[in-house]
């Protein structure tokens, strides 16, 4: 870092090979008109000749205020093709004050690389950009990616907006490749490991930047911080939860740090759409902490996630039946990975208490192993050795999962902290009563009917609710009817409400 600024301030362009310099100068020559057009209007887009970085001052002096941090950000982003972090912008604006901008133009030369000189650059003004870097890079669908994909797909269908990703190592925003677009649109496409040299860098300016996924990568966070704080762009983000900070004991060591980096950027965002009121309360608590540093923080509004039921095929139902049902035993289903926060050890203990009482049922977990799931695996094996009807399936197709929800007598989801609690909502959506925690987002979902709530810290409270749903048909039928009577909420509803909040509201 220290060395970097030394380099910036004492840069000697002659040190570079001639070919490299040529390529960089050509890139600047292409980008200078773009910069002028951005700040002065389209007519200014005349080509210029740039023989060295000194000519940048000549070509841009009348449009770029080198002391203005937003101008410094824009000049660096457009001319180098790489977004700067906050410190770089602030230090260059300060240095430029005393040398009439020479520091900035030197830094442009220093920060332009062969790779970034080769990228086409476009400035997006009055556009809506949707950052789906992670979601577009994978065919996997975790909860967050599913939200990002379902939402972005509808935004692309209903509004004029541009999905974007980042160039290698989060240097700058760029357009998606065809394959990445397909991943968002159809949620399935083959993996690719190709570099994307053809992708155009997009520099937002008086645009709206939307982030419907979690951006926790350190390099991405630091560039987003500069974008949110120093540029005249509007920024909006979907807030999933603050679990890495509020429940670090259930989080993989190290993730809290990168998540706090994300929060540092979100501090300067305009709006956060949280996926539940409970997530909203976590973000609101965090925002009130910001008074300590004289920062107001973003507006925070909950927009609750939807659940759309998918109809399983007869074959999927048959497969789920064959996989999960044990004779005539009622099935208790638990969906979710086995990380400690999901509290699956408590479910195993509650089940064992009931089996010892003589209550008859089978118990199936659907979800992969995760950080900290060793003791769950051990205890599961113990119970299996003891002959209990309990098992675990690590991966299940969506169709079979929906079929399993329908086959189950009830589901159990006594998590210790959730931004939303999707399995509870999914279970209830097909009319299967759910047992879940008596607080937070899970209580919010339960409030619309069909669920029993428990203290997840008390194994006996979980056992009591399971017993009630397993042996008491009156309770079961009442909750089942309540579940079927719940108001429907669609992804269309959700995508529209989030768009209205992040893009339309001021």
């Amino acid at each position: 870092m220290r060395d970097r600024f030394r380099q910036i301030l004492s840069y000697a362009p002659a040190a570079l090979p001639r070919m490299t310099r040529d390529r960089h100068r050509e890139a600047w020559a292409r980008r200078v008109p773009l910069l002028r057009a951005t700040l002065r209007g389209a007519d200014e887009a005349q080509p210029v000749a740039v023989a060295s970085f000194h000519d940048l001052a000549e070509a841009l002096a009348d449009v770029i205020d080198t002391r203005d941090r937003s101008h410094v950000w824009l000049a660096l982003a457009v001319l180098t093709g790489r977004f700067p972090d906050r410190t770089t912008v602030v230090e260059l604006a300060r240095a430029s004050e005393f040398d009439d901008g020479e520091s900035l133009w030197r830094a442009v030369a220093e920060l332009t690389t062969d790779e970034s000189a080769s990228w086409p650059v476009r400035v997006a003004t009055d556009e809506v950009l949707v950052d789906v870097a992670h979601t577009a890079s994978t065919v996997l669908a975790t909860g967050i990616q599913r939200v990002a994909r379902e939402t972005t797909r509808r935004w692309l269908r209903d509004h004029d907006c541009t999905p974007v990703s980042w160039s290698r190592d989060f240097q700058s925003l760029r357009e998606l490749t065809a394959l990445e677009r397909a991943r968002i649109a159809q949620s399935r496409a083959e993996e690719d490991v190709e570099a994307r040299p053809e992708a155009t860098v997009i520099v937002p300016w008086h645009a709206t930047y939307l982030l419907p996924e979690l951006a926790a990568e350190t390099a991405r966070s630091s560039r987003l911080l500069a974008l949110a704080e120093l540029t005249p762009n509007r920024t909006g983000v979907i807030g999933f939860d603050c679990v890495p900070i509020t429940s670090a004991e259930t989080t993989q060591l190290g993730f809290s740090g990168v998540f706090a980096g994300n929060l540092a950027a979100v501090r300067k965002f305009d709006v956060v759409a949280t996926i539940s009121k409970a997530a909203g309360a976590e973000y609101a608590g965090w925002r009130s902490m910001l008074s300590a540093i004289g920062v107001t923080g973003p507006r925070i509004e909950p927009v609750q996630l939807p659940v759309e039921v998918a109809e399983p095929t007869p074959a999927e139902i048959e497969a789920a039946r064959a996989r999960f049902l044990v004779g005539w035993l009622p099935l208790v289903l638990v969906v979710g990975s086995h990380e400690p926060r999901k509290n699956h050890l408590a479910v195993l203990h509650a089940a064992e208490l009931l089996w010892r009482e003589g209550v008859q049922f089978s118990l199936s977990f659907v979800g992969g192993n995760a950080w900290g799931s060793d003791s769950f695996s051990r205890r599961l094996a113990d119970l299996q050795r003891a002959g209990r009807p309990v098992d675990s399936e690590s991966r299940l197709s969506d169709g079979r999962l929906w079929a399993s929800y329908r086959l189950a007598r009830c589901t159990v989801f006594p998590s210790l902290n959730e931004g939303f609690g999707l399995p509870v909502a999914e279970s209830l959506a097909v009319g299967t009563p759910a047992i879940t925690s008596n607080f937070g987002s899970m209580l919010e979902i339960a409030a619309d009917g069909g669920a029993l709530t428990v203290d997840p810290h008390d194994d006996h409270s979980i056992a009591d609710a399971m017993r009630s749903l397993l042996v008491d048909d009156v309770v079961h039928d009442r909750l089942s009817a309540e579940a079927l009577d719940r108001p429907a909420r669609t992804w269309d509803d959700y995508a529209r409400e989030v768009w209205d909040l992040l893009v339309e509201s001021r």
Binding site: A248, E282, G294
Partner: protein, 503 residues
């Protein structure tokens, strides 16, 4: 307990186990404790007491008993997972199974605690964890708070000061030199005193007591402390300093935030937090607010404003030259924001103002931006001196000989350098929010938006060019009410250490 198990534990360990279980039984079983047979064969007491203790733990409402039995058995406070697992074992298995499982773990996990030490229970008392100040001579912000506060408490109340065993899983008594470091600190200690050689630690276990954490607890102990706060029936009280690694994560190294998040797992189960300022109270209260989403009430967070006495160290003002002196205080790291002061200074030097900038403060985790700026200005012949870390008396000399102090930090739990400068009668430029504003409200300060170079420049220009303004602030500074350590310690005791309303 079988003969095989006892033989694998060894007589001295068994004797210690006997002592700890008897101590636990004295508070858990009282008169119901089983009679011990005559004869003192090591392990005999344990074999009689453990079944009765485990029977008590079968009741799922007795989480406190489960916690204490585990503590006594392992010579280590248990974590949440350990309390839960033990409870489930006791609820399901026969008592002998729970016994042998426990003792097998004592053998298989000897590193969990100190199975060789006897233990003392502090019942209905106040236990204060002073581990860092007991072990190390470091004497900066937090350690000063501990060393000014805990001795004042001990002078008026009964308190038991403890450190952690090296495994960071249980409390122990302090060694004599550690007592000195906490209660009569007078600079770094050297050599071992005779009494240290005879020091034999004992484990200390709070029971229906208040545990006070006046320092930021070591993250290694987070799991044990969280479980203590949740299950043991003790009340946990803390001083809340700041949440810089969370609220301003970009200004701290990544590892800080990870460790701090572990510390927060204790905060969320604590009962009382005394924020040292408006800022830290807002941070801890905000964090507490976010806990309702996981069904936790969180601690009762209140502000007990830190003391701001002038340092006691004797000192004399450095001879003052003709040039006015701006003193920048704070360690050299991003959030202290000296860089903004230097930028403003460069502007003002270029305008032709003649003044000197002095910086006091050791190197922090990153001076990547500040250091080159200092060097560049020095190379350009500007009147700038970076003194680095200095002694307390030198710091006082520097303060007293400055015309004004720049301390406009981007994030402070309190801002001790500002308060102390003011207590010496020196005007301060400080930030217009949080604890710095709180300090400024009592007079003697110009407040600025520390992120706005223009505001910072204007404030410095005013104090350099308007002697009447400087004089006005000086009179205000002298007239400020001084908040003493006595007041702070006594208010803190009243909030944190009162027994009887344990949640």
């Amino acid at each position: 307990m079988t003969a095989t198990t006892t033989s694998r534990l060894g007589p001295s360990i068994l004797t210690a186990l006997d002592q700890r279980l008897a101590t636990a039984a004295s508070v858990l079983l009282g008169a119901d404790a089983p009679d011990l047979p005559e004869g003192r064969r090591p392990g005999m007491a344990s074999s009689h007491l453990l079944p009765a203790l485990i029977a008590l733990c079968a009741d799922s409402r007795r989480q406190d008993a489960r916690w204490l039995v585990l503590t006594a058995t392992f010579g280590a406070f248990p974590t949440t997972d350990q309390v839960k697992e033990f409870g489930r074992t006791v609820e399901l298995g026969p008592s002998e199974y729970a016994e042998s499982t426990l003792l097998a773990e004592v053998i298989s996990e000897p590193g969990r605690g100190r199975v060789d030490l006897p233990m003392t229970i502090v019942a209905d008392g106040v236990v204060v964890e002073v581990d860092f100040c007991a072990r190390y001579d470091t004497h900066t912000g937090i350690h000063r708070v501990v060393r000014e506060t805990v001795p004042r408490w001990r002078a008026e109340h009964t308190v038991t000061a403890v450190a952690w065993i090296d495994q960071y899983s249980a409390f122990r008594t302090l060694a004599p030199r550690e007592v000195d470091r906490v209660f009569s600190y007078d600079g770094p200690l050297s050599g071992e005193t005779a009494s240290d050689a005879t020091y034999r630690p004992r484990l200390v276990v709070p029971w229906r007591s208040v545990l006070v954490l006046p320092d930021v607890a070591n993250p290694r102990a987070s799991g044990q402390l969280a479980a203590l706060a949740k299950f043991s029936g003790n009340s946990v009280s803390m001083i809340g300093y700041d949440m810089i690694p969370i609220t301003s994560a970009e200004m701290r190294p990544l590892a800080d935030t990870g460790a701090f998040a572990q510390y927060l797992t204790v905060v969320k189960h604590a009962h009382r937090v005394a924020g040292i300022s408006r800022s830290s109270t807002a941070e801890f209260a905000g964090f507490t607010h976010s806990l309702k989403s996981q069904g936790l009430a969180g601690p009762d967070v209140r502000e007990v404003l830190l003391a701001g006495e002038a340092p006691h160290t004797l000192g004399s003002a450095r001879p003052h030259g003709d040039r006015p002196v701006m003193l920048c205080l704070g360690s050299q790291e991003p959030h202290k924001n000296q860089r903004a002061a230097l930028h403003a200074a460069e502007r003002l030097w270029r305008e032709g103002l003649d003044f000197e900038v002095r910086l006091v403060g050791g190197r922090g985790w990153s001076d990547a931006v500040l250091r080159p700026a200092i060097e560049r200005l020095a190379d350009a012949g500007r009147s700038i001196t970076a003194l680095g870390r200095v002694s307390d008396s030198r710091l006082l000399d520097e303060m007293r000989s400055a015309d004004f102090v720049f301390f406009a930090s981007l994030h402070e739990g309190y801002g001790l350098p500002a308060a102390e400068s003011l207590a010496c009668g020196i005007p301060v430029i400080t930030s217009n929010f949080g604890s710095q504003l709180e300090i400024a409200e009592l007079g003697g300060c110009l407040v600025v938006d520390p992120r706005d170079d223009d505001e910072v420049t204007e404030a410095i220009r005013r104090l350099l060019t308007k002697p009447e303004e400087l004089q006005r602030l000086r009179s205000e500074a002298v007239a400020r009410p001084v908040r003493t350590w006595d007041e702070y310690a006594s208010e803190l005791w009243a909030f944190l250490c009162t027994i009887g309303d344990v949640a």
